[in-house]
Symmetry: C2
Subunit: 385 residues, 2 copies
């Protein structure tokens, strides 16, 4: 097989554009100098657009999970009650973080592959009046579900005083996000998904309402203390050594996003989702998620006539194409295709053509090119619009 | 459109593997130091395999054309008679170089898209007994023809004392080459095609027979003087400052080629050729070249129902996919797909899926997925072998 060749189509980490790679390889700079300040000044106002917020964005060197933990430790204390909406592995992670801090954690478990229903949530909140914060996932990476944050947030605000805290790790940058308009109090993301960067940077947007809660919160923390970061934002400074290459890369990733146009970025992700789903339908590979709640960034498939792991192995060994497997109880039962960030419709066509070959080798009755055809038709319809 | 994204499928320059890019970005070294000597010692024995020769390979900083000129000025003088077999733009270039040096140049012109026939050549040589060297092209990049060098060379040796001088710029590294076995006296290639490097390095293999001619040749030259390079090869030195990044890159490109296995590299190129041709047949896009002389590295198409340039424009503007156009009298009449070097069968499937979309937009009666299907079938048959 051709060496040094790989097709990374998992839902993160995602491929990094060459110009972002180059930007990250610039000579290191000191984090207290003028260059670092200028870099932060360039990034901060622009990254707000992705969040759909007027709030300053806080950036912390750490993975998405560090961001989730930051959201938890700053807003709630061990004697608080919280609700975690669990629609998959990452909702579950929010719950595990809360439990690790001995917070009284209620779980609203939703079958994996489904989105939470605002009606069910409303009833839950009516029955639990002391919830201080509701944690949820925008795009549930493990299932490809995009939870309807706007209506969930509305339901919460109408039925409680709880903070609305959202994990947007695998959606931000690929899905239109309106933190302020939706009434989200704390939105967390990571660099390694639709933002086209390597892992290592988590970004948080915090509402005025959340800041009030954070200021009075008694839970102790140091590295994750949002108030420390907030103080430094004012002078475009950082409290601790930041992940400088990721900030250099973010500056360039924002250039790319702005050159394409944010609306166009979101439209591209919608098209890639529609292409992927049309192809999988044509190939009779069952989608885990209904169209209504399908994420533009990742698609999960739950095959019934072949083993998901066999397909993953065959495309990996033959084409060095990485697809993701299932997580937790879906392990071995689903496979997932990432189509976010530095990924074009042309890449989706390629992935589909390779999955078709894998399916044929597994003995599935697949017409070669049938999935590609359906995806091409989606793309053509979009081009002709 | 997604920024900083491109699909380069022209017949050179070709994409460069990331590990080769990284190798080329290593800190610069002095060309007279031990590191440069060690680098040359690592490269020289291994690059011979690609040529199929026991001769030392001479490397000169310059493009492929510099290599062609080196081949001319070292072997013939202005009072010599030479024959150039012209099967396309690069045969023509050999003739133009000879003419620039006022060498008496005979041209054996073959219709573009066809290979030269050893029978026609034999007759020509019988009628021209004073030919000192015959220049020819292995893969004619402008047409996608692979000339049968083994039989051409045999014909020349049986009918004359002329040197056999071959431009293997767009074949070497992608097509099995047996310089010694075929009786080739001088073989020239460039870095930017199947060798997976950027342009800027030309490589030459010279037979003992050619060295004898070169030693007695009276034509003056300096930078291109092969004897100067030959003297330096012995001590693993270089006469002038070499293109160090390209040598660092070549070292890594050889690692990749060796890890894949040379026979496997050639097989991959054969498969990519067969995939491309099967797809174009399925899509009713006429191939310029018969199957018998089709090159594994580049395929030229000569459409009759649409404008080649329109297709090139449409895939460039929509997908940033670069296909090559025609050269000289084929300008505007053909388009060419490069499938060599750092290119996998998965990339060929992608290119075909995008060409299909372009054809549909041009109003061609193409079934989406039909070309992909044919290419997939070729790939499946090869995998199942």
């Amino acid at each position: 097989m051709l060496q040094d060749y790989s097709l990374l189509r998992i839902p993160g980490p995602t491929p990094v554009p060459p110009s972002v790679q180059s930007a990250m390889a610039k000579p290191m700079i000191g984090h207290r100098g003028e260059e670092a300040t200028e870099l932060l000044q360039r990034i901060r106002p622009r990254v707000k657009q992705l969040f759909g917020t007027e709030q300053d964005i806080i950036m912390i060197a750490g993975s998405g999970t560090a961001g989730l933990e930051t959201a938890v430790v700053n807003t709630v204390s061990s004697n608080d009650e919280v609700l975690v909406i669990v629609t998959g592995a990452f909702g579950d992670r929010f719950a595990k973080i809360c439990e690790a801090y001995h917070i009284k954690t209620h779980r609203l478990d939703v079958p994996w592959g489904e989105a939470v229903s605002p009606e069910v949530l409303e009833q839950y909140l009516k029955n639990h009046q002391n919830i201080k914060a509701v944690f949820m996932t925008h795009c549930e990476t493990s299932t490809g579900v995009l939870n309807p944050i706007a209506s969930i947030s509305k339901t919460i605000h109408e039925n409680s005083n709880a903070l609305v805290i959202v994990d947007a790790v695998s959606s931000l940058g690929g899905v239109k996000t309106e933190m302020d308009e939706w009434g989200v109090d704390l939105l967390v993301t990571g660099s390694q998904k639709a933002m086209m960067l390597p892992p290592g940077l988590t970004l948080l947007g915090v509402s005025d309402r959340a800041w009030k809660v954070i200021e009075s919160n008694e839970h102790g923390c140091f590295y994750f203390d949002l108030q420390t970061y907030r103080k430094n934002v004012e002078g475009d400074k950082v409290p601790y050594t930041p992940a400088i290459p990721l900030l250099l890369g973010l500056d360039q990733a924002l250039n790319l996003i702005e050159a394409e146009g944010l609306e166009e970025v979101y439209r591209r992700h919608e098209v890639m989702k529609d292409m992927t789903r049309a192809a999988m339908k044509a190939l009779n590979v069952p989608l885990l998620t209904e169209d209504e709640y399908a994420s533009p960034t990742v698609t999960a498939l739950k095959p019934t006539t072949f083993q998901a792991e066999e397909l993953r192995k065959i495309v990996k060994s033959q084409f060095n194409l990485s697809l993701a497997g299932g997580q937790q109880h879906l392990s071995g039962k689903v496979f997932r295709i990432g189509h976010m960030g530095y990924c074009a419709p042309a890449d989706v066509l390629q992935v589909i053509s390779l999955i078709e070959i894998g399916l044929i080798q597994l003995g599935e009755s697949v017409t070669p090119g049938a999935g590609v055809k359906s995806a091409q038709e989606v793309l053509l319809a979009q081009i002709n619009k």
